[in-house]
Amino acid sequence: MGEECDKVTAWIAREIVPHEAAVRRWMARRWGHAVDIEDVIQEAYCRLAGLASVDHIDNPAGYFHRTAHAVASDLMRRAGIINFTLMTQIEWSVVMDGEPLPDRVVEAGQELERVRGLMSALPDACRRVIELRRVEGLSRRETAERLGVSENDVKNHLVRGLQKVMKTLAEQDARMDGDDRGGAGRKAERIGKHRP
């Protein structure tokens, strides 16, 4: 992977990652157990990474939603799940929700909680490594020396931190899904508490 990949990865980190949680919730509500959400998310990221250029994309969140929807449809078809009624309902509910998808929906407090939760899920050791490597610009060896660990440990801190952050996000959504079943017809693009 080279320069091009790096540019697109930067765009994905900045414009797509913040919406992953919302897309997961949307998928859980819309598709339920018909598809493996992890598979869909991974394939969606794969397709995004395959884009030659992202300059034309005005609404990254919307693009992410549509990509995930296309992936889910493809997966279902490929798996031979021929359930015409289910597919029709799902397609129809997308149409009913209308367009354009909101660029950004924010609820005071909830979004703050989510990002704060994410950052607090980042273990201290991992955060420290990132500070030394990226903020102070130390080399791998200098970082290891500063922390008094091996270079392998430096990488381990990062791996564990990254794994924890990504899992925390998925778990959060699984917990929320428990409360959110039965949201047919509700505008799924809205992020935030659902009032009873």
Binding site: A10, P102, V106, N156, V159
Partner: protein, 371 residues
């Protein structure tokens, strides 16, 4: 042994192996690629892993993105704790680009505007405004993303936020800024012709970036408030109403379908409107009874069994091309319907059909005559 397992084993990670979830393996590879020794051998291992299953590639992209996002967040937070330059509030034009609209005296339906002092400018925005304006590249962009997520940066790590109350600042894609009060929820849809914000709950203040091509419209229940290059706040009132307060510039406010009768509020002004529940639509020919009518857009005139003459006056108030009713018999005929407020021709044609007249054009005017 898979490449990821090898990499993991090298790193001394206890739990690596082919039984690891794809996500975990991808995390190992993402860190290896960003922080490890990517020798040709390692690269070949990575490629082999990526080729083995398409899901690996997707997971790898995701892991790289999350790693990058986490790193940028840490860097931004570090910058957030750094020295703060003397505060500069980002300047926004306070003149506005509204269409001309008739000034309407408040009548019994609406409360009289009250004088208000402008709220203090957000210390948060003053603190970071210059940093965002002056900063280049990744830092500014990341700050923008975090701001867009509505996170006051200093509070990410436990230090109390600089602003009082639970105010949250969101920068919209067009450069406008929304400040949300506690319990506020907004929905933002920016398209080519309009910037449309729906206030779902609570109250928010908007600093509107100038964009002549795209009016900025905030909807609260059934109350609309349009401006460009101004600062104003909108709060929900009940199910259908809203309170609009203007701090800078001026704002057009109207309920539901009555944009032609909008009130222009200026700085220091407040108005509260509550149009109440909308009347139930009758089932149209071939229409489904009980189907909710689509939400009114801001450029419609709604005629509820009014004489054509009265309707024509409403069109003439907002269009430079005037409608002239040549025969009183036409003016007396009542008409029902929703019409685009900026299309007097469409209305005139409909009125002609209903009243048994016809349309002709003279002197740049639209004239409706009896046959």
């Amino acid at each position: 042994m898979t490449g990821a397992a090898r990499a993991g084993r090298r790193n001394g990670l206890a739990s690596t192996g082919p039984n690891d979830s794809i996500e975990d393996q991808a995390a190992i590879w993402a860190v290896e690629a960003a922080h490890g020794d990517m020798t040709p051998g390692n690269r070949a291992d990575l490629e082999r892993w990526l080729e083995a299953d398409r899901r690996h590639r997707g997971a790898y992209v995701r892991a790289c993105a999350w790693l990058r996002a986490a790193e940028e967040a840490v860097m931004d937070a570090h910058a957030a704790r750094g020295p703060v330059p003397a505060g500069v509030t980002p300047g926004l034009a306070s003149d506005n680009d509204n269409d001309r609209a008739d000034r309407k005296q408040a009548d019994g339906r609406w409360q009289r505007p009250a004088l208000l002092s402008a709220p203090p400018a957000s210390r948060f925005l003053r603190r970071w405004g210059r940093r965002i304006a002056a900063g280049g590249g990744a830092l500014a962009a990341s700050l923008a993303v975090l701001m867009a997520l509505g996170v006051p940066l200093p509070s990410l790590f436990g230090t109390p936020p600089a602003v009082e109350g639970a105010e949250q600042v969101v920068r919209l894609r067009d450069g406008s800024v929304a400040r949300l009060g506690p319990d506020a929820r907004i929905e933002v849809a920016l398209s080519d012709g309009v910037r449309s914000i729906t206030l779902l709950n609570g109250a928010a203040t908007f600093e509107v970036a100038r964009d002549k091509a795209r009016p900025f419209v905030v909807r609260s229940g059934d109350v609309y408030a349009q401006a460009t290059g101004t600062v104003y706040s909108v709060s929900r009132v009940g199910d259908t109403g809203g309170t609009v307060k203007v701090m800078e510039g001026s704002v057009l406010v109207w309920p539901r379908d009555e944009r032609d009768q909008a009130v222009r509020l200026v700085a220091g002004g407040t108005v509260t409107l509550d149009p109440g529940p909308s009347p139930l639509p009758a089932a149209g020919p071939g229409g489904q009874p009980g189907r909710r009518s689509p939400p009114p857009d801001m450029a419609r005139i709604s005629l509820d069994n009014v004489p054509i003459a009265q309707a024509a006056l409403r069109f003439n108030r907002v269009n430079s091309t005037k409608i002239v009713i040549a025969d009183p018999a036409i003016g007396d005929v009542r008409i029902i319907g929703h019409y685009k407020s900026n299309d007097p021709e469409q209305f005139a044609q409909a009125a002609a059909i209903i009243s048994g007249g016809y349309v002709e054009h003279s002197n740049g005017e639209i004239v409706i005559r009896m046959k």
